[in-house]
């Protein structure tokens, strides 16, 4: 282990996030973290463990149980020139701060003619799969992607977990980082310098010429697994990690669809009026004449995410669903 170079050491997604936080705390004295249980407890997903000891209470601030209050505090600090990084436990609780996020953070810059930018970063966990029931399991990043003025990013890889925060600090407008709960324990190696990470473009995680699987967040791994199974059937899927849900990097996925002529969107969020619908519509607008099959999607079932394990699994996109649908889009019958 010690013989391996530093960059090749396997770390968890959680550790990568912590490295990213630590790095910006070290590099920029204006950066501070605020959120529930991030200090003494080390964060409800243990992302900030050890940071209080290293950086002290002034920069690692435990907040009272009021999302509206501590997001509002973050907005005020950002307006005053600080670089707050707010942690909200899960996206479900962020609804309590929705007024601050939508009516204040996302709009002040516009309403002030650019005089009052809000360079706020909010991190929150999203997604299902850990049997924490409906009130802790929803994927609302598609909702947030509806809002002009916000930048929405979804790190799915170790590199993105480590580097997206630093990239977010370069923007003057609010950036929300959605971390899928199921990813915190994923292990991998940092393969690139965090400084090279952008939060502007989608990424092709696997190249293929038969179909484009367009996804983001934890569903990326379902798509990559599905792509391997499809490959065994002779179908080579291209897997696109959107990375940035707002503004969408259309160019990358449109170009991919133009090559493969088929698009399957995989999104854990509810199907109706969701992110998959938006991506699909962009494809219709820009690549209709290149399509060789209808655009399809695999989304979350439209119910509050169930608690029971088998039901929770049934409510989320599954690898076999992706494989079956993708194969039916590519394979010719008769």
């Amino acid at each position: 282990m010690s013989a391996l170079p530093q960059t090749a050491r396997a770390i968890t997604y959680r550790e990568a996030l912590r490295q990213g936080l630590r790095s910006v705390l070290l590099n920029d004295p204006d950066v501070f973290l605020i959120g529930e249980d991030i200090g003494k407890y080390g964060g409800c997903f243990a992302v900030t463990k050890g940071l209080l000891e290293e950086f002290g209470e002034a920069r690692i601030r435990d907040a009272p149980l009021s999302e509206s209050a501590f997001v509002g505090a973050g907005i005020g600090a950002a307006l005053a020139g600080m670089r707050p990084v707010v942690e909200i436990m899960t996206v479900n609780f962020s609804l309590l701060a929705l007024d601050q996020i939508l009516n204040t953070a996302a709009t002040l810059s516009h309403m002030s003619g650019g005089q009052c930018p809000v360079p706020l970063i909010i991190r929150m966990a999203t997604g299902a799969g850990r049997q924490v029931a409906a009130q802790h399991s929803h994927s609302l990043e598609g909702w947030y992607s509806h809002i002009p003025g916000l930048r929405i990013v979804t790190p799915a890889t170790i590199d993105d977990a480590a580097g997206m925060l630093r990239a977010a600090l370069e923007f003057r407008d609010p950036v929300i980082i959605f971390e899928h709960m199921n990813l915190y324990n994923v292990q991998g190696e940092l393969s690139v310098d965090a400084a090279s990470i952008n939060i502007e473009r989608a990424a092709i995680r696997r190249a293929g010429q038969d179909i484009s699987l367009i996804t983001y967040g934890a569903s990326l791994y379902k798509c990559l697994t599905a792509a391997e199974q499809l490959s065994a059937q002779g179908i080579e899927a291209e897997v696109i990690d959107l990375r940035v849900l707002r503004p969408l990097d259309e160019k990358t996925f449109i170009q991919s669809v133009r090559r493969t002529r088929r698009a399957l969107i995989v999104d854990e969020g509810w199907r109706s009026v969701g992110l998959a619908a938006e991506v699909g519509m962009r494809i219709m607008e820009q690549a209709f004449y290149d399509l060789d099959a209808p655009v399809e999607r695999v989304c979350g079932v439209e119910v509050p995410v169930p608690y029971a394990k088998h039901m929770e699994e049934a409510a989320l996109p599954r690898v076999e669903q992706i494989v079956t649908l993708a194969a039916s889009m590519v394979k010719h019958v008769g």
């Binding site: 004449y289 060789d292 099959a293 209808p294 039916s328 010719h332 019958v333």
Partner: protein, 405 residues
């Protein structure tokens, strides 16, 4: 009168065309020769005429559809076969006969009802049939590729989701060369020329004759004529040459017609094809209709009109499908003579070389004379050199008496 309007063949090699635009709508009265639609073929966009009188009942093919020659495009009322429907949709109060007595209505009834406003009401059904009735599932990419490859989608079997036609199906169909279902690649006029000329050289045993004729009398005639008329009415040398060829064709019908089904069929009229080069390496030979019967002045008007429309891409269907004999002229070019290739299924083509002064012997003296080399390529299955010689002589003689043209 059939009451039907079908995709016409606008040339011997045409198998399909794209209905680009309708120029009529249900309820419109049309008469023979009216332009009813624009059809795109390899030769460009053609104004398509209708060959019967009547009233448009239904348009059966939506704009933008690529269909095979012979496909029913529209139904007409006004023919005997449509009588019953005319009565059914007509206003009973204005019908000449009481409805109670009108089933079956004599065929003559509708034929006399030529005023659409009194007895014929446009049907209330939509102008095109419901798309669900016959629309096939074709992926957008497959449709685009089919147009590119000239594949007729009606004859492609779909193997995609829900039996939709995919790119792969189109490509597979395109690889089945020379089978029904493969139409001509649109826009690729070079291919159509290649096919026609290859067929000509493969099937037609050409023989070639040429004769240099004095053009002095014709030139003098043109000068006299043109001095009398305004600039727009002046005649070009080619007008005189075309008329001379048209008269020769009328006099010797064995050079004017088509070779079809192993036999020559003489044409009753002379529709003289004129080879006209278009931009982008395209070449067409639309017809001057009844060229032998027209005065030089009328022929000149037709020629100008044809050249203008060809350059604008507006050729009439009858002009494209009808040439009975073609002339290819290099009269204004720097070429001594032309040895042309017959455009099948025609049986002859006349080439005109440069009109210029050449050494000319008259009564033992060499002098400079304005001359034009006329050449003939003819189908040896139909005529022999002897007939060809007379054909050329007929043209020459006509040029020596231009005032009689």
């Amino acid at each position: 009168m059939s009451g039907e309007f079908r995709m016409p063949s606008l040339g011997p090699d045409m198998e399909a065309g794209t209905l680009v635009q309708w120029r009529v709508k249900p309820g419109d009265a049309v008469k023979r020769g009216d332009i009813v639609a624009l059809v795109e073929t390899e030769k460009g966009i053609i104004d398509v005429e209708i060959f019967s009188d009547g009233v448009v009942d239904q348009l059966l093919v939506p704009e933008g559809t690529h269909v095979a020659v012979g496909t029913l495009l529209a139904q007409l009322n006004g023919g005997a076969t449509r009588t019953r429907q005319v009565i059914e949709v007509g206003k009973p109060s204005e019908a000449p006969q009481p409805l109670a007595r009108s089933a079956p209505v004599p065929a003559t009834h509708a034929a006399t009802s030529t005023t659409p406003t009194t007895t014929i009401v446009p049907p209330t059904i939509s102008s095109v049939p419901s798309p669900e009735a016959h629309r096939r599932k074709v992926s957008p990419a497959a449709r685009a590729r089919a147009r590119e490859l000239g594949v007729d989608l009606e004859r492609v079997t779909g193997t995609g989701m829900g039996a939709a036609i995919t790119i792969e199906d189109v490509v597979r169909a395109a690889q089945t060369v020379d089978k029904p279902g493969i139409a001509e690649p649109a826009h690729d006029m070079r291919q159509i020329i290649a096919r026609a000329m290859s067929r000509s050289k493969r099937e037609i045993p050409h023989y070639y004759l040429s004769l240099t004729c004095s053009f002095a009398k014709a030139r003098a005639f043109l000068d006299r004529y043109n001095a009398r008329v305004d600039i727009e009415s002046r005649l070009l040398p080619s007008c005189v040459l075309l008329k001379a060829v048209a008269q020769a064709a009328k006099a010797m019908p064995e050079f004017n017609g088509f070779y079809k089904d192993d036999a020559f069929q003489a044409a009753s009229d002379v529709h003289l094809g004129v080879a006209i080069a278009m931009r982008g390496g395209r070449l067409v030979a639309p017809a001057l209709l009844n060229a032998d019967q027209k005065s030089l002045a009328a022929l000149m008007i037709d020629l100008r009109d044809l050249a203008t429309r060809v350059r604008a891409g507006h050729m009439r269907s009858s002009e494209l499908s009808m040439p009975t004999l073609t002339v290819t002229s290099f009269a204004e070019e720097d070429v001594d003579s032309v040895i042309p290739v017959i455009y099948p299924p025609q049986v002859a083509i006349v080439g005109v070389g440069a009109i210029r002064e050449r050494p000319w012997v008259v009564e033992g003296q060499v002098r400079a004379e304005l001359t034009v080399p006329i050449s003939l390529a003819a189908d040896h299955r139909v005529t022999d050199g002897r007939a060809g010689t007379r054909f050329l002589a007929t043209i020459r003689n006509a040029l020596q008496a231009p005032e009689q043209l």
